[in-house]
């Protein structure tokens, strides 16, 4: 299935768990995640059922004013 991660469309296996998808993407701690613009707290990663066309944001600390 096709999933957009940080604005880039990628192909992933059907029923891939969110944790596995993040691992394949290469996400590096510290980060937090939103699926379809909804924040997903870390303890809830296992409850997310990803589907074709989902939009994922992986966000990290950065400089800010």
């Amino acid at each position: 299935m096709k999933i957009s991660i940080n604005g880039e469309s990628r192909q992933f296996a059907e029923d891939i768990p969110l944790v596995e998808l993040l691992s394949q993407y290469g996400a590096v701690e510290p980060y937090v995640v939103a699926v379809n613009t909804e924040f997903v707290p870390k303890p809830n990663y296992g409850q997310v059922a990803l589907k074709d066309g989902d939009l994922i944001d992986v966000v990290q600390p950065l400089q800010g004013g």
Partner: protein, 259 residues
Amino acid sequence: MWKLGNKQLNSRLLIGSALYPSPAIMCDAIRQSGSEVVTVSLRRQNPGEGGGNDFWQQIRELELNVLPNTAGCHSVKEAVTTAMMARELFDTHWIKLEVIGDDYNLQPDPFGLLEATKELIDQGFEVFPYCTDDLVLCQKLVELGCNILMPWGSPIGTGQGLLNPFALKTLRERLPDTTLIVDAGIGLPSHAAQAMELGFDGVLLNSAVALAQDPVTMAKAFGQSIEAGRSANLAGAMPARDIAAPSSPVVGQPFWHQK
């Protein structure tokens, strides 16, 4: 010491972490400023660039309070979601809430700001709203439960200082129990001192230090000016007047003879 949210602080300067020539200069400048609060943002990770470990490690080593922002958010939904992500990422309930209404001058959207503030306060955040200097907006933010307000001095990154001292002075007079911090538009230490002389509780700035030719020295200058402005406010200024009044005694002036 003064109280900002749930923290006791010495410095009244809040400083940003962006736009410095290098990470080392950022760290030196923040240390020299004496600030105990540093602002940060959240942005998409690019694993190819190694994630955000280096920057975050540098900030953590400073051992300061972190104030995450919602910079770049244009809607209530974006701002609220970003705040919730920041709470987990930085392990703080503090949020510098920005809901931008106009891209030309990065002016806050007052209507979206009120809506996002209400939702975030309901969810237990200590909201630091970046707002305009409009009295009614600020009163409504306080009514929603804000303990801290951050009106702009002038638009973000312009360095023009306090464009409307009258409005800022009015806020201080009308909201005596609210922590007021000038956020944005500061360019010179004298601007920061002026805000403190008006009775503001603190100043938040970034570009004025980071874009100075020598950010480390400028950071120190801002720390000093904010202390000077605070002392001046406590000391109480003389009233301004239109007519000159000599400071030297007029009695006993030599070379004066009655004819």
